[in-house]
Symmetry: C2
Subunit: 429 residues, 2 copies
């Protein structure tokens, strides 16, 4: 049986997971692949921390580039994350004729165009199933399983941290701060959770999904991006009463005016399949013109799930090497220029929460500002619950473009009686 030699850069949680799978399921994997996967070199700056899987010292190095260029390595796995030196390592491996497997969403989202150009020049594939949705084979599903379809929309819950926080706020009625503390205790949130909360991690993943679906390698710039930081227990309560669940969604849509890309907390009808995706689980919902709706669901994070995807990629890269077909460029994104819909033209229904004193005229003032911007009101909830002398006014609007909504919100914020910056959430139904 042929041995396919793997170089691993980054011996952290996921790297250890990869070694663990290859140990635990090695014979199963060899039987399925018809070849043996062997990790022959491992690079990490920290070689001192004890790991669960031991490796002979001769295979270890602190010099990542030496692994990327090692002539014996067939496939390089990049698991250090971030932009630098990850890009340099990937490019060096491609230049040295290796297939590359990476779990690094940031480097693909920000430097993807350069990486795939280099892969095309080198005639070598880059696999990245673990970069979105952990164990869920959504990359494969999108670019192979649904390859015959024109994709019209993608809705993804692709960040486990924020989904855990929103799920706990919904099920337990706790505040965002409390849910975040819980998530940190459980290891579901980083000590600095800002990349997750602000939706940046989701935006990176959206770039990857949308690039595959729509055929141009996109970038994070110009994505409508809002995080979950300002969501209160009250919002969870009111949206629940209206029949909605709040989820941080990564959304890509082929609208007639162009491609729209956005990441924001979103009101989803409670009976939407994505509404039942709770806790740290991830799911991606896709619409194809012939396939209809599809959903892929599973564990988006953690050593096991991410390593499951990395090893699947290793098997795919390895299969070509094993059959003697070599590793051709694989399924690179096909270049195609796409028009982007200007953010101001994106149309949504909106949920609006305004804190205002419970006195006549305030609602009339808000309604008249919305009317000035041609934004129709679908329903209003106004309750007697006082909060620092003000009550929340909840409005659901009809569809309106971002541009008009943003202008109306600025004006509402300037109304003297309005106590806090008005808070707005977008609706998908």
């Amino acid at each position: 049986m042929k041995t396919i030699k793997v170089g691993l850069v980054g011996w952290g949680t996921v790297g250890s997971g990869v070694l663990k799978i290859l140990k635990a399921n090695g014979s199963l994997i060899s039987r399925r692949l018809g070849a043996k996967l062997e990790v022959v070199r491992v690079a990490d700056l920290d070689l001192d921390t004890p790991r669960s899987v031991k490796l002979p010292a001769s295979r270890l190095t602190r010099d990542a580039l030496s692994v990327a260029r090692d002539p014996q390595v067939d496939i390089l796995v990049e698991l250090i994350g971030g932009l630098d030196p990850a890009e340099e390592i990937i490019l060096a491996a491609l230049k040295a004729g290796k297939a590359v497997v990476t779990a690094n969403k940031a480097v693909l989202a920000v430097r993807g165009r350069r990486i795939f150009a280099a892969a095309a020049r080198a005639g070598r594939p880059v696999f990245f199933e673990a970069s979105v949705g952990g164990a869920i084979p959504v990359i494969k599903g999108l670019r192979e399983g649904l390859a015959a379809n024109r994709i019209s929309s993608i809705l993804g819950i692709v960040n486990g941290t924020t989904n855990y926080i929103l799920s706990r706020m919904t099920s337990e009625g706790i505040s965002l701060a409390e849910a975040l503390e819980e998530a940190q205790k459980l290891g579901y949130a980083e000590p600095d959770p800002s990349l997750d909360l602000a939706g940046k991690d989701s935006a990176h993943k959206l770039v990857i999904l949308a690039s595959l679906a729509f055929g141009d390698w996109l970038e994070p710039r110009g994505i409508l991006l809002e995080g979950i930081e300002r969501i209160s227990s009250e919002d969870i309560l009111y949206t629940g009463e209206l029949g909605y669940v709040i989820k941080l969604l990564a959304i890509a849509k082929a609208s007639p005016g162009g491609l729209e890309l956005r990441v924001h907390p979103t009101l989803l009808p409670r009976n939407h399949l994505l509404a039942s995706v709770s806790g740290v689980l991830n799911a991606v919902y896709l619409e194809g013109d012939f396939s209809g709706p599809s959903m892929f669901y599973g564990r988006g994070a953690g050593a096991g799930p991410a390593a499951s995807a990395v090893v699947a990629d290793l098997m795919e890269a390895g299969q070509a090497l094993n059959t003697g077909a070599g590793t051709g460029p694989g399924r690179l994104p096909s270049p195609q220029k796409l028009d982007r819909l200007p953010v101001g033209d994106i149309r949504c229904r909106h949920y609006l929460r305004v804190q205002a004193p419970d006195r006549p005229g305030v609602l009339a003032r808000i309604a008249s500002i919305l009317a000035d911007h041609d934004i129709g009101i679908a329903s209003v909830i106004q309750r007697g619950r006082r909060k620092k002398g003000a009550v929340p006014v909840i409005l659901m609007t009809h569809q309106a473009p971002e541009r008009e909504m943003a202008a109306a919100l600025r004006k509402i914020a300037r109304v003297a009686a309005v106590k806090e910056r008005p808070f707005r959430l977008r609706v998908e139904d």
Copy 2:
């Protein structure tokens, strides 16, 4: 750009769907594949019925084998369904050196071992994404996306007809006969729906999923098989009160005693993700040792979804031809002998409905029979609703092996006061 030549056998709904996708999305598909897919030959016994996509008469024939053997054909697509002559056509195409794409679950389930042996001899691949779950790329997900995992269980809703019927019985409170009539009017059920209702279609699909997951090519023989025919509105009502939804599930589990394979209506807790899969939609829920739980969801039937999967397979087969790698054997199931758990040893919790007169002693008699077989009772519902002088007694048992349950059911049926054959459903929680 290279042209890859396709021969199509079976010009029915799915065949027409394939031609439609290639027409509608042809340029997109060529760009993604880097080659053009062209249907050069089509065989069908009926060439007279008008179809939406027209083909020149020179490409049409009634002789399927001539297409399977045509030297210009690179990939043969078999869409006639059934065992014969489908098997002969597939084997002829493999022998003639062609890659094969099929949507035929029956021929794979019953004759799969022979077909894959022939494929291995010929060194040619057989793709069959459309055979299970229509557009849902679950075959690919299972044998590629989750390839690094030891799969411990599969739960699938893989038959749209029965899922539609059970969903309507649940949401509308109508009878099975009424729901079936509705399904037939909508084209969701065949005029003779018995293959679907009895679970045989699901069993074929289970064979395919389980063969890929557990590595031996299995067969339908020996699967514990029960259909939905005897489910009443009362069962829907009582199981609903107990917090369950009834779904026809195809189940494969790697138990310590061996592999268990079964198809039967199943009580699922209402918060299980599969419980929200309604109407004609399909979903497959999988557990891998590193991936954790995954679910694949989408349209399991219809021209568009099935054709979406067939064209995806054509693209996969075509990719190898396009890159000059040829079409090697692909990912054939790896041969591995598996122990099967005897049906009598399968352990489940059970829901039991017995029609008996509302008088003291009957419940005691049933309970004592169950006790004789060491079957514990978890809960009992007994209501005053008379039905022909009898009331339903509903029991939920603790886990018990099939063997004991079957023996107890036979004894309960012989209790003089029991008016109807007792009805039993299995529980997954």
